[in-house]
Protein backbone atom coordinates (compact mmCIF):
# COMPACT_ATOMS: atom_id res chain seq x y z
CA UNK A 1 0.00 0.00 0.00
CA UNK A 2 1.52 3.30 -0.99
CA UNK A 3 1.23 6.53 0.91
CA UNK A 4 -1.63 8.83 -0.09
CA UNK A 5 -1.90 12.55 -0.52
CA UNK A 6 -5.16 14.35 -1.25
CA UNK A 7 -6.19 15.79 -4.58
CA UNK A 8 -8.59 18.74 -4.20
CA UNK A 9 -11.04 19.37 -7.03
CA UNK A 10 -13.31 22.19 -6.02
CA UNK A 11 -14.76 24.31 -3.24
CA UNK A 12 -18.53 24.48 -2.79
CA UNK A 13 -21.02 25.39 -0.09
CA UNK A 14 -22.39 22.51 1.88
CA UNK A 15 -25.69 21.45 0.35
CA UNK A 16 -27.99 18.52 0.74
CA UNK A 17 -27.29 15.80 -1.78
CA UNK A 18 -23.61 16.46 -2.41
CA UNK A 19 -22.54 13.08 -1.09
CA UNK A 20 -25.20 11.42 -3.20
CA UNK A 21 -24.01 13.42 -6.21
CA UNK A 22 -20.53 11.99 -5.76
CA UNK A 23 -21.65 8.39 -5.42
CA UNK A 24 -20.22 6.40 -8.27
CA UNK A 25 -17.99 9.26 -9.42
CA UNK A 26 -14.46 8.01 -9.87
CA UNK A 27 -11.75 10.47 -8.99
CA UNK A 28 -8.20 10.87 -10.25
CA UNK A 29 -6.36 7.56 -9.77
CA UNK A 30 -9.64 5.68 -9.50
CA UNK A 31 -10.47 6.46 -5.88
CA UNK A 32 -13.89 7.58 -4.61
CA UNK A 33 -14.40 11.28 -3.89
CA UNK A 34 -15.52 12.70 -0.55
CA UNK A 35 -16.18 16.10 0.97
CA UNK A 36 -13.98 17.74 3.60
CA UNK A 37 -15.67 20.60 5.47
CA UNK A 38 -13.94 23.60 6.98
CA UNK A 39 -15.64 22.88 10.28
CA UNK A 40 -18.27 24.20 12.68
CA UNK A 41 -19.74 27.57 11.80
CA UNK A 42 -18.69 27.39 8.16
CA UNK A 43 -20.55 26.08 5.15
CA UNK A 44 -17.46 25.73 2.95
CA UNK A 45 -16.46 22.28 1.87
CA UNK A 46 -14.00 20.80 -0.62
CA UNK A 47 -14.26 17.75 -2.87
CA UNK A 48 -11.23 15.56 -2.33
CA UNK A 49 -9.87 12.11 -3.16
CA UNK A 50 -6.75 10.19 -2.19
CA UNK A 51 -4.01 9.82 -4.83
CA UNK A 52 -0.69 7.98 -4.61
CA UNK A 53 1.92 10.31 -3.12
CA UNK A 54 4.69 9.21 -5.40
CA UNK A 55 2.67 10.05 -8.51
CA UNK A 56 2.11 13.62 -7.38
CA UNK A 57 5.51 14.52 -6.04
CA UNK A 58 7.18 17.32 -7.89
CA UNK A 59 9.52 15.30 -10.03
CA UNK A 60 6.93 12.67 -10.89
CA UNK A 61 4.36 15.28 -11.72
CA UNK A 62 6.75 17.00 -14.07
CA UNK A 63 7.37 13.72 -15.81
CA UNK A 64 3.69 12.78 -15.95
CA UNK A 65 2.78 16.06 -17.51
CA UNK A 66 4.92 15.05 -20.46
CA UNK A 67 2.54 12.16 -20.95
CA UNK A 68 -0.58 13.26 -22.74
CA UNK A 69 -2.47 10.07 -21.82
CA UNK A 70 -1.79 10.64 -18.12
CA UNK A 71 -2.77 14.29 -18.45
CA UNK A 72 -5.99 13.38 -20.23
CA UNK A 73 -6.96 10.81 -17.61
CA UNK A 74 -6.41 13.32 -14.80
CA UNK A 75 -8.17 16.12 -16.67
CA UNK A 76 -11.23 13.98 -17.43
CA UNK A 77 -11.48 12.65 -13.89
CA UNK A 78 -11.12 16.18 -12.51
CA UNK A 79 -13.83 17.39 -14.86
CA UNK A 80 -16.23 14.56 -14.03
CA UNK A 81 -16.08 15.51 -10.34
CA UNK A 82 -16.72 19.16 -11.20
CA UNK A 83 -19.67 18.16 -13.42
CA UNK A 84 -21.24 15.99 -10.73
CA UNK A 85 -21.07 18.85 -8.22
CA UNK A 86 -22.22 21.46 -10.72
CA UNK A 87 -25.44 19.55 -11.24
CA UNK A 88 -26.31 20.47 -7.62
CA UNK A 89 -24.68 23.72 -6.66
CA UNK A 90 -22.32 26.55 -7.58
CA UNK A 91 -18.82 25.16 -7.98
CA UNK A 92 -15.47 26.84 -7.62
CA UNK A 93 -13.12 24.60 -9.59
CA UNK A 94 -9.47 24.47 -8.51
CA UNK A 95 -6.55 24.43 -10.92
CA UNK A 96 -5.55 20.95 -12.11
CA UNK A 97 -3.34 18.98 -9.68
CA UNK A 98 -3.85 20.92 -6.44
CA UNK A 99 -2.64 18.47 -3.82
CA UNK A 100 -2.55 18.48 0.01
CA UNK A 101 -0.94 16.15 2.52
CA UNK A 102 -4.03 15.45 4.62
CA UNK A 103 -7.55 16.56 5.60
CA UNK A 104 -6.18 18.96 8.18
CA UNK A 105 -4.30 20.87 5.50
CA UNK A 106 -7.46 21.06 3.38
CA UNK A 107 -9.43 22.48 6.32
CA UNK A 108 -6.67 25.00 6.86
CA UNK A 109 -6.81 26.00 3.19
CA UNK A 110 -10.60 26.47 3.40
CA UNK A 111 -10.17 28.53 6.53
CA UNK A 112 -7.37 30.67 5.14
CA UNK A 113 -9.25 31.78 2.04
CA UNK A 114 -12.78 31.49 3.42
CA UNK A 115 -13.71 35.05 2.59
CA UNK A 116 -12.46 34.87 -0.97
CA UNK A 117 -14.23 31.54 -1.55
CA UNK A 118 -17.49 32.93 -0.14
CA UNK A 119 -17.34 36.07 -2.24
CA UNK A 120 -16.52 34.18 -5.40
CA UNK A 121 -19.24 31.59 -4.86
CA UNK A 122 -21.69 34.41 -4.36
CA UNK A 123 -20.53 36.18 -7.51
CA UNK A 124 -20.85 33.04 -9.61
CA UNK A 125 -24.12 31.76 -8.15
CA UNK A 126 -26.62 30.70 -10.79
CA UNK A 127 -24.20 31.25 -13.66
CA UNK A 128 -22.42 28.94 -16.04
CA UNK A 129 -19.70 29.31 -18.63
CA UNK A 130 -20.13 28.88 -22.37
CA UNK A 131 -17.30 28.62 -24.85
CA UNK A 132 -17.45 30.40 -28.20
CA UNK A 133 -14.93 29.48 -30.88
CA UNK A 134 -14.72 31.13 -34.27
CA UNK A 135 -13.02 29.35 -37.16
CA UNK A 136 -11.92 30.50 -40.59
CA UNK A 137 -12.41 27.93 -43.30
CA UNK A 138 -11.21 29.44 -46.58
CA UNK A 139 -13.68 28.61 -49.33
CA UNK A 140 -12.83 27.76 -52.89
CA UNK A 141 -12.81 31.03 -54.78
CA UNK A 142 -16.36 31.73 -55.88
CA UNK A 143 -16.09 35.28 -57.07
CA UNK A 144 -15.95 34.26 -60.72
CA UNK A 145 -18.60 32.25 -62.43
CA UNK A 146 -17.51 28.80 -63.48
CA UNK A 147 -14.98 26.55 -61.82
CA UNK A 148 -11.99 28.24 -60.25
CA UNK A 149 -8.99 27.85 -62.52
CA UNK A 150 -6.43 25.50 -61.11
CA UNK A 151 -2.85 26.62 -60.99
CA UNK A 152 -1.09 25.97 -64.29
CA UNK A 153 -4.18 25.58 -66.48
CA UNK A 154 -5.41 28.72 -68.18
CA UNK A 155 -9.14 29.19 -67.92
CA UNK A 156 -10.97 29.17 -71.25
CA UNK A 157 -13.10 32.09 -70.14
CA UNK A 158 -10.00 34.19 -69.85
CA UNK A 159 -9.84 36.90 -72.50
CA UNK A 160 -6.37 38.10 -71.65
CA UNK A 161 -3.92 37.41 -74.45
CA UNK A 162 -1.10 36.42 -72.20
CA UNK A 163 -2.14 33.24 -70.44
CA UNK A 164 1.04 31.33 -69.80
CA UNK A 165 1.01 28.84 -66.97
CA UNK A 166 3.15 31.13 -64.80
CA UNK A 167 0.71 33.98 -65.14
CA UNK A 168 -2.29 31.74 -64.58
CA UNK A 169 -0.60 30.41 -61.48
CA UNK A 170 -0.03 33.89 -60.13
CA UNK A 171 -3.60 34.86 -60.88
CA UNK A 172 -4.85 31.77 -59.07
CA UNK A 173 -2.64 32.57 -56.09
CA UNK A 174 -3.94 36.12 -55.99
CA UNK A 175 -7.52 34.93 -56.11
CA UNK A 176 -6.78 32.44 -53.36
CA UNK A 177 -5.21 35.11 -51.20
CA UNK A 178 -8.09 37.40 -51.88
CA UNK A 179 -10.51 34.78 -50.72
CA UNK A 180 -8.43 34.16 -47.57
CA UNK A 181 -8.46 37.84 -46.79
CA UNK A 182 -12.20 37.94 -47.30
CA UNK A 183 -12.60 35.04 -44.89
CA UNK A 184 -10.51 36.79 -42.24
CA UNK A 185 -12.49 39.95 -42.76
CA UNK A 186 -15.70 37.97 -42.35
CA UNK A 187 -14.32 36.31 -39.20
CA UNK A 188 -13.50 39.70 -37.76
CA UNK A 189 -17.05 40.79 -38.46
CA UNK A 190 -18.36 37.65 -36.73
CA UNK A 191 -16.08 38.31 -33.75
CA UNK A 192 -17.42 41.84 -33.42
CA UNK A 193 -21.00 40.60 -33.59
CA UNK A 194 -20.32 37.98 -30.92
CA UNK A 195 -18.60 40.45 -28.63
CA UNK A 196 -21.46 42.85 -28.89
CA UNK A 197 -23.93 40.06 -28.07
CA UNK A 198 -21.69 39.23 -25.11
CA UNK A 199 -21.63 42.83 -23.92
CA UNK A 200 -25.41 42.92 -24.03
CA UNK A 201 -26.10 39.53 -22.45
CA UNK A 202 -23.14 38.10 -20.54
CA UNK A 203 -21.96 38.90 -17.03
CA UNK A 204 -18.30 38.45 -17.91
CA UNK A 205 -16.03 37.56 -20.80
CA UNK A 206 -12.69 35.74 -20.84
CA UNK A 207 -10.31 35.11 -23.69
CA UNK A 208 -8.36 31.90 -24.14
CA UNK A 209 -5.44 31.34 -26.47
CA UNK A 210 -6.47 30.29 -29.93
CA UNK A 211 -6.29 26.53 -30.35
CA UNK A 212 -3.39 25.25 -32.41
CA UNK A 213 -1.41 22.05 -32.66
CA UNK A 214 -2.34 18.42 -32.83
CA UNK A 215 -5.15 18.57 -30.28
CA UNK A 216 -6.91 21.34 -32.17
CA UNK A 217 -9.19 19.06 -34.10
CA UNK A 218 -11.80 21.54 -35.30
CA UNK A 219 -11.89 22.05 -39.06
CA UNK A 220 -10.37 25.31 -40.22
CA UNK A 221 -8.23 27.76 -38.30
CA UNK A 222 -9.32 28.84 -34.85
CA UNK A 223 -9.15 32.63 -34.59
CA UNK A 224 -11.26 33.29 -31.49
CA UNK A 225 -11.47 31.08 -28.39
CA UNK A 226 -13.50 32.90 -25.78
CA UNK A 227 -15.67 32.15 -22.79
CA UNK A 228 -18.75 33.96 -21.56
CA UNK A 229 -20.37 33.82 -18.15
CA UNK A 230 -24.14 33.65 -18.40
CA UNK A 231 -27.10 33.49 -16.09
CA UNK A 232 -29.41 30.59 -16.64
CA UNK A 233 -32.08 32.92 -18.06
CA UNK A 234 -29.79 34.42 -20.70
CA UNK A 235 -28.42 31.13 -21.99
CA UNK A 236 -30.88 30.07 -24.68
CA UNK A 237 -31.09 33.48 -26.32
CA UNK A 238 -27.32 34.00 -26.15
CA UNK A 239 -26.60 30.66 -27.85
CA UNK A 240 -29.12 31.32 -30.57
CA UNK A 241 -27.78 34.79 -31.31
CA UNK A 242 -24.16 33.70 -31.26
CA UNK A 243 -24.77 30.81 -33.63
CA UNK A 244 -26.66 33.19 -35.93
CA UNK A 245 -23.71 35.59 -35.94
CA UNK A 246 -22.01 33.64 -38.74
CA UNK A 247 -25.05 34.03 -40.93
CA UNK A 248 -24.19 35.49 -44.32
CA UNK A 249 -20.46 35.22 -43.62
CA UNK A 250 -19.00 32.55 -45.90
CA UNK A 251 -15.87 30.86 -44.65
CA UNK A 252 -16.71 31.48 -40.98
CA UNK A 253 -17.86 28.83 -38.52
CA UNK A 254 -18.92 29.42 -34.91
CA UNK A 255 -18.88 26.63 -32.33
CA UNK A 256 -20.51 26.95 -28.94
CA UNK A 257 -19.43 24.58 -26.14
CA UNK A 258 -20.94 24.16 -22.71
CA UNK A 259 -22.38 24.45 -20.24
CA UNK A 260 -19.16 24.48 -18.25
CA UNK A 261 -18.68 25.12 -14.56
CA UNK A 262 -17.28 28.66 -14.37
CA UNK A 263 -13.65 27.57 -14.77
CA UNK A 264 -12.57 30.71 -16.59
CA UNK A 265 -14.23 33.15 -14.17
CA UNK A 266 -12.90 32.27 -10.75
CA UNK A 267 -10.67 35.33 -10.68
CA UNK A 268 -12.43 38.63 -10.01
CA UNK A 269 -13.28 40.52 -13.21
CA UNK A 270 -10.50 42.76 -14.39
CA UNK A 271 -7.70 40.40 -13.41
CA UNK A 272 -6.55 39.29 -16.79
CA UNK A 273 -5.46 35.79 -17.58
CA UNK A 274 -1.80 36.34 -18.46
CA UNK A 275 -1.56 33.87 -21.30
CA UNK A 276 -4.02 35.19 -23.80
CA UNK A 277 -4.01 36.90 -27.12
CA UNK A 278 -4.86 40.53 -27.26
CA UNK A 279 -7.88 41.38 -29.30
CA UNK A 280 -6.87 42.85 -32.65
Amino acid sequence: MTESVFYAYAVVRNAAGLDTALEGVVGVAGAPVHMVSEGPGSDLTAAVSPVPAEEFQERALRRHLEDLDWLEAVARAHHSVIEALAAHTTVLPLRLATVYLDDGRIRAMLHEDAELFSQTLQRLAGQLEWGVKIYVEPQPDTRRPGPASAAGSASAADTTADTGPGRAYLRARRAQRHSREECYEAAREAAERVESIGRAMATDHARHRVQQGELATGAGENVVNDAYLLTHEATAEFRKRVLDAAHGLPGVRIDVTGPWAPYSFVAPPGTEDPATDRPP
Binding site: V5, A8, E23, G24, V25, V26, F56, Q57, L61, R62, L65, L68, E72, A75, H78, H79, E83, A84, A86, L92, P93, L94, R95, L96, T98, V99, Y100, R105, G131, V136, L170, R173, R174, R177, E181, Y184, A187, R188, H208, R209, V210, Q211, G213, E214, L215, A216, T217, E221, N222, V224, T257, P259, W260, Y263, S264, V266, D273, A275, T276, P280
Partner: protein
Protein backbone atom coordinates in the same frame (compact mmCIF):
# COMPACT_ATOMS: atom_id res chain seq x y z
CA UNK B 1 -11.40 11.02 -30.47
CA UNK B 2 -10.67 7.45 -29.49
CA UNK B 3 -12.92 5.46 -27.24
CA UNK B 4 -12.20 6.35 -23.67
CA UNK B 5 -13.01 4.10 -20.80
CA UNK B 6 -15.84 5.96 -19.16
CA UNK B 7 -15.82 5.78 -15.39
CA UNK B 8 -18.77 3.74 -14.15
CA UNK B 9 -21.81 5.89 -13.46
CA UNK B 10 -21.77 9.69 -13.98
CA UNK B 11 -22.57 10.46 -17.59
CA UNK B 12 -21.22 13.93 -18.32
CA UNK B 13 -23.98 16.53 -18.43
CA UNK B 14 -23.40 18.43 -21.60
CA UNK B 15 -21.75 16.74 -24.54
CA UNK B 16 -21.09 13.02 -24.51
CA UNK B 17 -17.38 13.75 -24.57
CA UNK B 18 -15.87 17.19 -24.33
CA UNK B 19 -12.85 17.83 -26.51
CA UNK B 20 -9.63 17.48 -24.55
CA UNK B 21 -8.29 20.77 -25.84
CA UNK B 22 -11.37 22.67 -24.57
CA UNK B 23 -10.95 20.97 -21.21
CA UNK B 24 -7.25 21.77 -20.97
CA UNK B 25 -7.90 25.40 -21.85
CA UNK B 26 -9.97 25.54 -18.68
CA UNK B 27 -8.02 23.26 -16.38
CA UNK B 28 -4.61 24.73 -17.14
CA UNK B 29 -5.47 28.41 -17.28
CA UNK B 30 -8.73 28.56 -15.29
CA UNK B 31 -9.66 27.38 -11.85
CA UNK B 32 -8.56 28.79 -8.51
CA UNK B 33 -4.81 28.70 -8.02
CA UNK B 34 -3.93 27.70 -4.47
CA UNK B 35 -0.60 26.87 -2.96
CA UNK B 36 -0.90 23.18 -2.32
CA UNK B 37 1.48 21.05 -0.29
CA UNK B 38 3.28 19.69 -3.30
CA UNK B 39 6.06 22.07 -4.16
CA UNK B 40 5.21 22.26 -7.80
CA UNK B 41 1.92 23.61 -8.99
CA UNK B 42 0.67 23.64 -12.53
CA UNK B 43 0.77 27.40 -12.40
CA UNK B 44 4.57 27.24 -12.04
CA UNK B 45 5.18 24.88 -14.88
CA UNK B 46 6.85 26.12 -17.95
CA UNK B 47 4.35 24.78 -20.42
CA UNK B 48 6.78 25.15 -23.24
CA UNK B 49 8.78 22.28 -21.82
CA UNK B 50 6.07 19.71 -21.53
CA UNK B 51 3.89 17.76 -23.85
CA UNK B 52 1.52 20.66 -23.98
CA UNK B 53 3.67 21.82 -26.82
CA UNK B 54 1.27 19.58 -28.64
CA UNK B 55 -1.46 22.09 -28.08
CA UNK B 56 0.16 25.31 -27.05
CA UNK B 57 2.87 26.82 -29.14
CA UNK B 58 4.21 28.93 -26.34
CA UNK B 59 2.73 30.68 -23.40
CA UNK B 60 5.09 33.58 -23.42
CA UNK B 61 5.62 34.18 -27.11
CA UNK B 62 2.95 36.28 -28.73
CA UNK B 63 1.07 34.24 -31.22
CA UNK B 64 0.79 36.23 -34.42
CA UNK B 65 -2.53 37.92 -34.67
CA UNK B 66 -4.91 35.61 -36.49
CA UNK B 67 -6.17 38.57 -38.44
CA UNK B 68 -3.00 39.00 -40.42
CA UNK B 69 -2.98 36.88 -43.50
CA UNK B 70 0.52 35.51 -43.92
CA UNK B 71 2.17 37.02 -46.97
CA UNK B 72 2.43 34.77 -49.96
CA UNK B 73 5.89 34.16 -51.36
CA UNK B 74 5.01 35.89 -54.62
CA UNK B 75 3.38 39.08 -53.59
CA UNK B 76 2.39 40.47 -56.96
CA UNK B 77 0.69 43.87 -56.72
Amino acid sequence: MNDTQRPSGAEPLAQSQVALIDLLDRLLSGGVVLTGDVVLSIADIDLVRISLRALIVSVSARNPSPWQTPALPEDAP
